[in-house]
Symmetry: C2
């Protein structure tokens, strides 16, 4: 359910590179040309363009982009152009370097990706930063959130659909006991959320809801200002209903005065090839406004045009 649109006849990577090079040359930059190419190529095609560009011009495409464009537009184009695994590695590194406990990037990478995608991000992190994600997370965070995040980013969840209902029942009970005791940082609770397969967790959390009358996230809202509880709720939403989770991130990014461009760019670039179509539907339903219109109202210029292109908005 991607929003990415790709033309039926795709130019060769060399032709794309030639056009991009043209966009960079002469007076000013042709941003529309950059968008018309990069925002309409999938990950494999963008990779081929980057490789070809480096071969032909002896310079990294990302470097050229960095020289030519700037601001939110640059960030959107560069994040989008990166391979998904490299993009996740870059986002994770930025998150640990500028660590704030309200940051949700690491949770998204750990919980709203497949196990193979998370592992690919860990490999890309090695290659680019010469360290492991988990050592940087462990070194830059503290307290309960560290316990949670280190396990989450290190996880390699089983991805089969098998569910053990007896286990789900016993772990729903453990979760309820710990939450009733306000033992939110209990190792058992963290262990269950960080290691069980998504199918198993969905079963456990459904049973939780049925047996104890509330959704777990309602019970995890005893102190709405507690950042650790908010992180736990984000983990659960990323696992159980990523589209609703991302709808909310976008909604919050757009809501009120000012816009959280970083969050908006992140969700659109990381989901455009995954499930952004569904996120758009959820957004429209929830807010009675098409997401494209909301984005257009809150952004402007080339940045706006880039996001709308990734949202599949045809002129």
């Amino acid at each position: 359910m991607a929003t990415l649109t790709i033309p039926e006849a795709i130019p060769s990577p060399a032709e794309d590179c030639e056009q991009l090079r043209k966009a960079f040359q002469g007076w000013g930059t042709n941003e529309a040309l950059i968008i018309s190419i990069l925002a309409h190529r999938n990950a494999a095609q963008r990779r081929a363009i980057r490789e070809t560009y480096a071969q032909i011009y002896g310079e990294e495409l990302l470097k050229s982009l960095d020289d030519e464009i700037s601001g939110d537009f640059e960030r959107a184009v560069i994040l989008w152009t990166l391979d998904p695994a490299e993009r996740d590695a870059a986002l994770a590194n930025e998150a640990v370097r500028k660590w704030r406990s309200s940051d949700r990037v690491l949770i998204e990478i750990a919980c709203a990706r497949s196990s193979a995608e998370l592992f690919a991000a860990r490999q890309a992190y090695h290659a680019r930063f010469k360290r492991s994600i988990e050592e940087d997370v462990a070194a830059h965070t503290t307290g309960d959130i560290r316990k949670l995040l280190v396990l989450l980013v290190s996880s390699y969840r089983y991805e089969g659909a098998e569910v053990n209902m007896r286990l789900a029942k016993s772990e729903a009970k453990i979760l309820h006991e710990k939450i009733s005791d306000k033992a939110y940082n209990d190792e058992e609770l963290i262990r269950i959320l960080a290691t069980r397969s998504k199918a198993q967790l969905v079963a456990t959390l459904n049973l939780y809801n049925n047996e104890f009358g509330n959704s777990i996230n309602k019970d995890l809202k005893s102190d709405p200002k507690d950042e650790y509880l908010a992180a736990l709720r984000a983990v659960i939403r990323c696992i159980c209903c990523p589209e609703k989770y991302f709808e909310k991130v976008i909604r919050m990014a757009i809501a009120g005065l000012g816009t959280d461009e970083n969050a908006l760019t992140r969700v659109i670039t990381t989901r455009a090839e995954v499930d952004l179509k569904v996120v758009k539907e959820v957004y429209h339903k929830r807010n009675s406004v098409p997401l494209e219109r909301a984005v257009a109202g809150d952004t402007s210029g080339d940045y706006e045009r880039m996001l709308l292109a990734l949202l599949g908005h045809e002129n």
Copy 2:
């Protein structure tokens, strides 16, 4: 520095399968024939034999072996025949199912393998057991050792040779402080051991030795009977000097009355294609007896012949 010996002219997988099938047929089993084939093929060759055997005879080679042979000999042949990643997955699963805090298998798999090998074992574990290693470790262990093991088996250490000496110095100091305070289960201590690259850890532990006068393992021996401290020491030895670590496991398996066949089989089958030649040298030096002679003295029959074949002992 493997001990595995492979004949110069290797029969085709189909020829090997035919010979194995012969070894299984008729009155009794031809154990010598089994050894002469399987104990002299590398991992890729054994995999080809297993695939070919299943195609020709419609039965798994491991199943045929299981029907035909038994006891320690069977365990050695089957562990050896498995792919390294499958073998690690099988050993890890056995370790969690029969969990004893003195068990070192999980530490060996987490710390004495490359990052890619550990990840391959995690993938094999998914495929075979429909769960993740880390969820089984978390569910079957408790207390401090659980904290340590879950992080260790989930780790994906950076493998480059880069060392940050400033970091090594500060972390040597942290380790020394925690150990001086007997805070052996401190999160910082576990984090450092479980996430840093091996090159970085070696530098940190050398500095520890230089700055504070003792090796860290000496300082971690305050209570020689404490299983958690013993586990920490094993982690450090598996990371810094795997050959010495494995020499000791073998020495202990052979020492005294009776033999720990499981440990002996495990080390020989997991290291024969890796570094068993070095382990043998360390053993000979340490015990003034060639390892082959010690193994021959403590084992017998087909089991003895299998181990000696893997040890590279020519008749």
